[in-house]
């Protein structure tokens, strides 16, 4: 296996169509039939793709009944097919599913409850259908408010798939051009400046602002995933984003916290990833786990930012805030509270990180273990060329775990960071099962 393969067709842990003939015949037929209608834009995970026909809690099952432990999917945050979400959706489906141009208490009730998880300054919410749409809207509002276009993101950021946010998503690869108004900074890897990392990181932001100015672009926004997921998962040190937001504001820009991946308590101890850094962003975007799989996302604003945009620009998202997605989302919020899933994320995340640390102790292939709550990155480095990433071993581990029916993936610019991001309903027993299998694949030769 080589790196071209490990980041297959521009995607970490992507199935390589060149390997079609190696698949069992029934699976190969399914993949070929799929390719015929969905075309070449679609990707599958793993060297041997996984079929899914059923899920329950933290488990997924294929058509043969094979059980997989899901340690990757953040969307079904309260667990696959959670009965309370199933019931909430069923109740609302029987009532009505309509849009926000009619008065509906359930939308306002949810909006109020969602906003109660945010700092008071963040007082308005606009519902969209996807995180991409939320980020796209956040950029439109930033531009309207600041009158400027310049955007700063991290070096391997991913913020979505519309034309505007794809232009701010370097992780899409060299064939997907960044906009002329976009500049990147390195992800916040504290090893870059061990003695004084916060200052180092803020300096990078200042440099990017100056670079934009030199090309005639004022700063519209700094847009950052609060846990830097696609950059390889960087959660610490806490507080590093405080000097950044100050720099952004001093330059007249807005700080947009993309909480689509870290949000809803995944990082443990609090609802939102930005809270770990003690900042209050100007705009926060949320998505994926919001409806446990029903499409719903949102942008949360300091209200004054919407004064001009709200007056001048009509923004109607047909499916944004539809009654059924709202019903699902509200029940997700209640289940997170009732089942204490934020505390669980902290507790089980610690078990996982401690276990992985113990298993990999003294193994030079593992160069860093990091993360917060149930969002864990395990970085792999070359033993032959110390300091170089090792995506091949990472991909091999991901696929060997898949063969042992434990689903994780990889992340980072080089695809060398194991990404462990299970449903927040992941329990201690699940963690033990993952660690047992992890130890087996780490200790055995590929």
């Amino acid at each position: 296996m080589n790196s071209a393969n490990s980041i297959s067709q521009g995607m970490t842990n992507g199935f390589d169509r060149g390997r079609l003939d190696t698949l069992p015949v029934e699976l190969r037929d399914k993949v070929e039939r799929r390719d015929r209608v969905l075309g070449p834009g679609y990707r599958l995970f793993y060297d041997v793709p996984v079929e899914v026909v059923r899920g329950s809690g933290t488990y997924l099952y294929d058509s043969a009944g094979t059980e997989y432990l899901d340690a990757y999917n953040n969307v079904p945050c309260v667990g696959h097919a959670h009965p309370r979400i199933v019931d909430a959706v069923h109740r609302q489906m029987q009532l009505v599913n309509t849009n926000t141009r009619y008065v509906q208490d359930l939308v306002v009730n949810y909006a109020e409850d969602l906003l109660s998880t945010f700092p008071d300054e963040l007082g308005n919410v606009t519902f969209t259908s996807t995180g991409s749409e939320a980020n796209d809207l956040a950029l439109r509002v930033s531009r309207k408010v600041t009158g400027s276009e310049g955007i700063i993101v991290t070096a391997n950021a991913y913020h979505g798939l519309t034309a505007a946010v794809a232009a701010c998503s370097p992780s899409l690869g060299i064939n997907s051009p960044l906009g002329p108004h976009v500049r990147t900074i390195p992800p916040p890897d504290p090893r870059m400046s061990p003695s004084n990392f916060p200052t180092y990181f803020a300096t990078e932001v200042h440099r990017a602002i100056a670079e934009l100015r030199r090309h005639g672009y004022g700063l519209s926004a700094f847009l950052a995933d609060s846990i830097f997921s696609s950059d390889g998962i960087f959660a610490d040190p806490q507080g590093i984003l405080a000097p950044v937001i100050d720099a952004v504001h001093a330059a007249g820009g807005l700080y947009i916290a993309d909480e689509v991946q870290p949000g809803f308590g995944r990082t443990g101890a609090q609802w939102w990833g930005f809270q770990r850094h003690g900042i209050t962003p100007d705009i926060v975007t949320v998505g994926k786990p919001m409806g446990n799989g029903l499409p719903i996302a949102a942008a949360v604003f300091k209200p004054h930012l919407l004064t001009d945009f709200g007056r001048d620009i009509r923004y109607f998202n047909t499916f944004g805030g539809n009654s059924v997605s709202i019903a699902a989302a509200h029940e997700v919020l209640r289940v997170i509270r009732d089942e204490e899933l934020i505390i669980n994320a902290e507790k089980v995340g610690t078990i996982l990180r401690d276990g992985i640390t113990q298993i990999t102790s003294g193994d030079p292939r593992f160069t860093d273990i990091r993360g917060a709550g149930l969002f864990i990155g395990v970085e792999m480095g070359s033993t032959e060329h110390p300091g170089s990433p090792d995506p091949d071993t990472a991909t091999s581990l991901v696929n060997r775990l898949r063969d042992r029916r434990v689903l994780i993936s990889a992340s980072g610019r080089h695809g060398n960071v194991l990404k462990i991001r299970p449903p927040m309903a992941f329990r201690s027993a699940d963690a033990e099962r993952l660690l047992t299998q992890f130890e087996l694949v780490v200790r055995s030769e590929p």
Copy 2:
């Protein structure tokens, strides 16, 4: 009432916040509470907004049990809370709701069935969550294929809300700037050139292509709603789009048919609006009614257009093609067939158009009645200034119908075209009820 009010806050038939004090106190409280959390970007329909808590078939109900006949909503195409859609969603929710990076037969089964409704040349489908995302993707693919940026749309087109498609949506109003690469042509109103309209319309397209070239833009795409909904609903004469697609192809561009509003059989006689004009677009985007309210949309492509884009650009839409939205969408397709809703659209649409024609016969305020199937436009003109639009009377009729518990809206650049676009499950009895109320408001003074 004046025109500033009838197109309230940049939106036809929008509730004017200045009228808050005129509302019944309970409704006013609900609207105020809503405004506090959702902010100024949100709009409501009607002078007295409608509350919705329940729906069934073609009826909506508020919390007091008041019944409204829904002659406006196209999203719940097979009817509100249709039991077969409710059941399909419930079954899939209990199984699993996951994404397209796993192998799932149900996604491929639906893709094949959906594609069977299209001409053979349109052989690949990419699922998105919203029509905006589908149009945004279509534009990204066009740009990749053609290497050009220029876009042509109609004068009051609406194609969605992402930054890229909002820049091609003049109906958003003067505060929402069009892109420098966008040119508009008049909507296809055959009265512009009664003797030879097809030639006139194609000439406008040629002129826009030349205009783009003069500014250094090659033609990327002609993007058009096949029934020109927001332009005021122009369905005829059939065949007018054939010379347009030839002109677009001759200039190296792609023809994108936006079927988000006219699609899924609404125009009667066939599945897609472009089929009325005997053309095969390069890309077709579909959305709103696709899942009867569950968020799902798609772009359908001639497969060769995806060769480069599919290879170079990773396009993963987390919620696009999620199992539950797919289950809903597949059941919608089956219900449209089983309940013969396309035939119904033709039949009931004809009853409506004939009835409206009869009621308004000899009334000079009604300057045109047009449309196809269950998508009807009734144009209102000034009697004082013949040739001028009359949005005020249109808005008044919309609101007086609302007071009589029949929901329609208005459309067109001037907001002077009554827009009647009910669920496709609208039956003859519903049409009779609408016509009875319509006659009452037309015959009485405001």
